[in-house]
Amino acid sequence: MSQTITRRSFLQSGTLLAGASLLPRWMPRLAFSPPGYGPRGDVLISVFLRGAADVLNMVVPHGDDAYYKLRPTLGIPRPDDRRAEPSSRTLDLDGFFGLHPKLSPLVGAWQTGQLAIVHACGAPDESRSHFKAMELMERGVEDERGPASGWIGRHLATLETGNASPFRAVALGEIPQRSLSGAVPVTALRSIADFHLAGDPQALAKMQAALNSLYSGIDAVSGIGQETLRILDALQATDPLSYNSATDPAYPESDFGLGLRQIAILIKAEVGLEVAAIDLGGWDTHFAQGGSVGQMAELMWDLASGLAAFHADLRDLADRLTVVVMSEFGRRAAENGSLGTDHGHGSLMILLGGHVRGGKIHGTWPGLAEGKLVGPGDLAVTTDYRDVLGEVCLRRLGNPALGEIFPGFQVTLHDLVT
């Protein structure tokens, strides 16, 4: 009879929940962090919005008249637009910018100063190709000649934290993000509850012994195999699912919500997580993207409700977390004829965490008036995305090796985090 050997009963985990945070039954910090190393920096959560998110409809420049001329159909109504349904109006942030109404779950973090936005942010690449832009951005390089590894991979490779945990870097989903590639093996993980081998216990014990022997080489794939085996062991010896908690607000029932919940569990279980990368796809809205409601509004709701639930779930640990949200580029300032938007240039980034200088729109707003737009009519980039990531690496992750993480680029600090 087949059975699961590593998964504990969910019910049992639930009953342990109350005591778990006070007295963990296992101490992975001792196991994974030998004495002699200083404390690590924040846990970094890197969120990539795949498909080029239309940032002008996320953080709406409602004070810029040109916005409504460019977006006669898709524009999100001004906060005081009485002709529009109240629920469809922009949520004002500072008198000039406002949040899309479906990003409302983020208002709380904005008000407590833990959420910041860097507008008109992005990369110099003007190919307007998703694939080229994503690749360059995840590699953190200026052009194809840069190193093939990812910027997060190089961050991990240049920062000796003495952390031997197999959970040091985790990729949520099925295919690890390019940004993570580098010296540290990275395992894709979709769900902790499903991360186990199932079958006859005796046969599986032998299978695991065989895998240990077969993956003992020094090549990259053997490294990943060893890491996978160590994660299996760690999950078998411990019970991270006991750190699963019901939160208010709840995580959305989506892959993104599921992924964020896995990250929260790993953080609370203190298994040595330093970086988690997670994607939210579907932002390539050439057709029928919708305005206050519709296709893109649903994506924004998934994003915002997920991040808000994550933030609430980990409110006691906010000082040790930094979430960065980015996308490969922005979209055309003018809407197209399909009630959508085509590929553009300038984008934005969102920072969330206890040490973020929040409640503020950072960066220089280039404007949307004629003459201010670049290329075929796109938002200009006034802050390089590497400035934002570099400052997070330096100030929050404790890694000064910016020259190696972003080769050939001089990071400018903008006081985005403390």
Binding site: S129, A210, L232, A334, N336, S338
Partner: protein, 498 residues
């Protein structure tokens, strides 16, 4: 003349599909009809280079394919595969009979997908396409054709998750990808541009004069022909998008068929890639397609992509140039291009990490598994990251080894399940395999199995370590040993590479 089904015909069709779906769950009915696939006798000899080369041109070489290539030589084998129409294929053909939606016109597929009807699952159309794809990959003798079908399926990626692609992909698979997979690249590109599934997937069905939609125009140049560094500009994207205004898909009568709507076409003068385009309606974009299909950048882009797929992650530039030259000389004759690539390139083959499809199908093929290609297998492909026809973005499933090597656990579980008979409707005759391997101790069984699955025995130290570790983990019981050793070899690093 095509038209929508009336209700009576629809019920009849629905009944047929429901019945065939029932049969699909019971593969043995079909297995009895089809000829016995090759057995393991004689057991293949160790032949690392034939195995390696065949593993690029097939989904995992079966014993008889290895023997044929050894007998006739790899070049003769390639020539045979380049003429798939000359190969009888009853093993695949008979098994495909149960998939009744594969040959239906788009309006009927639309009906099947939209209506809730007795016993017809809404997912029947894409599910049959996925299942049929796997059946062909496992059972077809036209292996190079199937490998190329997957290559072009990625190159002209369409996700069934987007709108009517849900059922239109079935038509695209049949009329575009499979029809032209070994034909002429220009005709393939032309067919794809007129494919309703592609026009829906990349939003050209809403591309109208006044404010065009650039999505398809861009990917047509960036991903389908010239490549991102192929020499086009943002202005070319916008002008080609104007040429493509009015290229759309019928919505009511003959739903799902291509149509050019001149009302929505921008008739003004245009300029693409430096050439003036006269106002000629539908012909404008077709002229550009002709230019793109034989453009030197396209030749190089396709040659490099094929070389990456078949030869090495970073193929020798000289090889790519040579293949691009053949592309140009033959105006994109895919057979000639492939012949040049394989005849000149196999000596440069470097290891590539198997994509999930290759991992799963190679295990099934080499082990002579019986499979219905159904739910159990499809679920595993999803866990490994390659559910068929579901990659969301137009670049297709990645072809870099690194993209796939970070997700080993589902492969290990699949190896375990296949070797232990834990997959529904997919089985391996393990006693038969052990018998064919011949008598001997576990060490010789490992040798025999790895010769079959890897083309050569495991290195002695690896083999010894494997057997020791298994022994240490508990008493070896004779009954479970073959399953365990088979699972271990399938899960081993060596079997993850092709």
């Amino acid at each position: 003349m095509r038209r929508s089904l009336n209700r009576r015909e629809f019920i009849r069709l629905a009944g047929l599909i429901a019945a065939s779906t029932g049969v699909a769950g019971c593969a043995s009915v079909y297995d009895r009809l089809v000829p016995e696939s090759s057995s393991w006798t004689p057991w293949p000899n160790a032949g690392p280079s034939t195995f390696l080369h065949l593993n690029r041109m097939t989904y995992g070489p079966m014993s008889d394919e290895r023997a044929a290539a050894d007998d006739a030589g790899i070049e003769a084998w390639i020539e045979e595969q380049l003429a798939p129409e000359s190969l009888d294929d009853p093993g695949a053909d008979l098994r495909l009979r149960r998939f009744t939606t594969l040959d239906l016109p788009s309006d009927v597929l639309a009906d099947l997908s939209d209506r809730i009807f007795d016993n017809v699952d809404r997912f029947t159309v894409p599910d049959q396409l996925r299942q049929a794809t796997l059946i062909r990959q496992v059972y077809s003798r036209r292996q190079l054709l199937e490998v190329m079908v997957e290559f072009w399926t990625d190159h002209f990626n369409i996700s069934v998750e987007k709108g009517d692609c849900f059922f239109l992909k079935t038509v695209d698979d049949r009329e575009v990808i499979r029809r032209h997979a070994l034909g002429n690249f220009g005709e393939l590109l032309w067919a794809s541009a007129h494919s309703p599934a592609m026009l829906v997937y990349l939003d050209n069905q809403s591309n109208r004069k006044g404010s065009p939609n650039e999505n398809y125009a861009r990917e047509l140049m960036e991903l389908h022909s010239l490549g991102v560094s192929g020499g086009y500009t943002q202005a070319d994207v916008m002008e080609l998008a104007r040429c493509l205004t009015g290229w759309t898909v019928k919505e009511h009568f003959w739903r799902g068929e291509f149509t050019f709507n001149s009302q929505f076409h921008d008739a003004g003068p245009k300029r693409v890639l430096g050439e003036a385009i006269d106002p000629l309606g539908q012909i404008e974009a077709e002229r550009v397609l002709d230019v793109l299909s034989i453009h030197p950048s396209t030749a190089h882009f396709i040659a490099a992509k094929l070389a990456r797929r078949f030869i090495a992650e970073d193929p020798p530039p000289g090889l790519v140039d040579l293949v691009a030259g053949v592309f140009k000389q033959t105006n994109g004759d895919i057979r000639s291009v492939l012949r040049a690539l394989l005849m000149n390139g196999l000596e440069f083959v470097q290891p590539k990490f198997k994509r999930p499809s290759h991992f799963v199908v190679s295990a099934l093929r080499i082990l002579n598994a019986r499979t219905d290609g159904g739910e159990a297998i499809q679920r595993y492909l999803k866990r490994m990251g390659q559910p068929y026809f579901a990659w969301p973005t137009p670049d297709g499933y990645p072809d870099r080894s690194e993209a796939w090597s970070g997700n080993l656990l589902p492969r290990w579980q699949f190896a375990y399940d296949l070797a232990h008979g834990a997959l529904s409707h997919t089985t391996v005759d393990l006693p038969g395999l052990v018998q064919a391997a011949g008598p001997g101790d576990p060490a010789s069984l490992v040798d025999r199995m790895s010769t079959l699955l890897l083309g050569q025995p495991l290195p002695p130290t690896t083999k010894r370590a494997l057997l020791d570790s298994v022994e240490r983990a508990g008493a070896i019981d004779d009954e479970g040993t073959p399953s365990l050793l088979l699972a271990a070899i399938l899960a081993s690093p060596a079997f993850q590479w092709r």
